[in-house]
């Protein structure tokens, strides 16, 4: 096997609070090649903190430690801020949950994409503009020229999220971290956004980390799935083998969803075993 794009071993994220230390991520290890990896878990399972820690975006007073946290051979824990800045947004980028909060409200969408591009590539204004327009077209905007000049409040949620994806992919990153990219969107719109994401990731041969609470969605979108519970990975499996999940937590999560196909009543609920969190 070739060298992994991302190598994480024993990642821990701790928050030292007045009331004691909370460990949000407790020893997560995985390797990622150019593939689609899903991280699933309920709220508070540490899935988002894992994604943030990779980018060095853990909010203070958080503390990140790991035996190894390397991206393409670069140790992210000891790298200088300068190196991190060139990586972030350049070779690793992140799509956040809600485009309403993650786009700059006082800049047009086009300007924001240009800014992202020029921060990482030596490019003139015209070249950056062409690149931004091409990118807007790549995310299937019907009229890229018009969307270019719009402010974030003038576009719908789905368009905003596509603009966000355009901005994150304009620098041609090697790794994309998507943190609940579609949970603020409607079902049919989110399918469209996923389709675009899927195409771009496949076409460009990127690695993708897809963080979500939606087990069904992740298993249909990703190649491999990590299931997190209480800051730990309780199970790692091939997405297509999700039905053969071994861990009672994963099985419980699968069963407690109501389905259109059969009518189970009452729905099985999850009996949390304290041993899972050990």
């Amino acid at each position: 096997m070739t060298k992994p794009l991302l190598d994480v071993e024993d990642l821990r994220v701790r928050f030292h609070l007045r009331t004691g230390t909370v460990e949000a991520v407790r020893g997560v290890s995985f390797q990622l090649g150019r593939e689609r990896l899903g991280i699933v878990g309920e709220s508070g399972s540490g899935k988002s903190q894992t994604g943030r820690a990779i980018l060095g975006l853990t909010p203070p007073p958080g503390e990140v430690t790991a035996k190894r946290l390397a991206f393409d051979g670069i140790d992210l824990l000891t790298a200088s801020n300068r190196t991190l800045r060139t990586l972030r947004g350049g070779r690793i980028s992140m799509v956040m949950q809600d485009p309403k909060y993650s786009l700059n409200p006082v800049m047009t969408i086009g300007e924001q994409i240009i800014e992202a591009y020029q921060a990482h590539a030596k490019a003139g204004r015209n070249e950056a503009r062409d690149k931004a327009l091409a990118m807007l077209e790549a995310v299937k905007m019907r009229d890229p020229g018009r969307v270019f000049a719009l402010y974030p409040h003038e576009v719908s949620g789905g368009m905003g999220q596509r603009a966000m994806i355009a901005m994150m992919l304009v620098t041609d990153p090697d790794l994309l971290i998507a943190d609940e990219p579609t949970s603020a969107l409607d079902v049919t719109v989110s399918m469209e956004v996923l389709r675009i994401l899927d195409e771009l990731v496949t076409e460009r041969g990127m690695g993708l980390i897809f963080i979500s609470h939606d087990l069904k969605l992740v298993s249909s979108f990703c190649d491999r799935v990590l299931v997190m519970y209480a800051g730990r990975v309780v199970e790692e499996l091939e997405a297509k083998n999700l039905r053969e999940a071994q861990h009672p937590y994963t099985q419980g999560l699968m069963r407690c969803l109501p389905t259109l196909v059969d009518d189970v009543r009452p729905l099985p609920t999850l009996n949390r075993d304290p041993a899972w969190a050990l």
Partner: protein, 260 residues
């Protein structure tokens, strides 16, 4: 029990006029559960809000128990119809204890004399013990908060419960618990539900009949049974069913063909 006839909701006038709900009619019998499904902006929540007086009824009629509702709604109306909101983090007063939250409806309706027994009973009904009575919302989990919101709605013994996305802010495992609770309560107390959700599976689980809405209009009225057997006649309903099955790589084939 509940009869909606040609309901219209209009916001603004002239250039700013928005027709949030256009000519929607449906009928819900006593003890039934009725679902409203659609994407955001389809007007499904606005229908609920119009029923309980949080949105204007611009045209058409809303009948509860055969009587047309008045604006503003009377106390008797709120004794019959109560609402549970989407986000239990926002719908409970952060500085009121559970006890105070639950005694508020009783105080409004002048029934405070046996408040204690009713609060304890309401807590029991939603599966929480008396130990929760003097807690603040921040000391509760999301699922527990939603249980309190349901208890608050039930404490006046209403006949109709309007549920606006009651589980969409909750984790999957907690969602199952709340859905089971709602199912139980309906059977035990003979309640009538109107459930708004974007999740077809949730609606099909809880309701017998449902209305698919889009752009403020009713697209199709169908039954949960028909959804299960995949017998939706409408194209839009079909696309919703497909989207709820998860992402499928197969349907993206034409798009890649174009790109290549």
């Amino acid at each position: 029990m509940l009869d909606i006839q040609n309901l219209q909701v209009v916001y603004g006038t002239g250039r700013l006029r928005v027709d949030a709900v256009k000519d929607v009619s449906f009928h819900v019998e006593q003890g039934a559960a009725y679902g409203l499904v659609g994407e955001s902006g389809s007007g499904k929540s606005t229908v609920l809000r119009a029923i309980c007086g949080l949105a204007p009824v611009s045209g058409g009629r809303v009948l509860v128990d055969g009587k047309e509702v008045t604006t503003p709604r009377t106390k008797a109306f709120y004794r019959t119809v109560q609402m549970v909101f989407q986000d239990p983090y926002a719908s409970l007063h952060p500085r009121h204890t559970v006890d105070r939250t639950l005694s508020e409806p009783l105080a409004i309706h002048g029934e405070k004399n046996d408040a204690e027994t009713r609060i304890l009973q309401a807590l029991r009904e939603v599966g929480l013990g008396p130990s929760f009575r003097f807690r603040y919302p921040h000391q509760l989990s999301g699922g527990q908060r939603q249980r309190i919101a349901i208890a608050r709605a039930l404490i006046l013994r209403p006949k109709v419960l309007l549920l606006d996305e009651p589980t969409s802010a909750l984790d999957a495992s907690v969602q199952a618990e709340i859905l089971n609770l709602l199912d139980d309560l309906r059977r035990k107390l003979g309640l009538t539900y109107i459930l708004v959700s974007h999740d077809l599976a949730v609606v099909a689980h809880l309701c017998e009949r449902l209305l698919v809405m889009r752009h403020g209009e009713a697209v199709e009225e169908t039954t949960a049974e028909a959804l299960r057997s995949g017998a939706a006649s409408n194209e839009y309903t079909q696309s919703l069913i497909q989207a709820s099955q998860g992402y499928s790589r197969a349907s993206k084939q034409p798009a890649t063909a174009l790109a290549g």
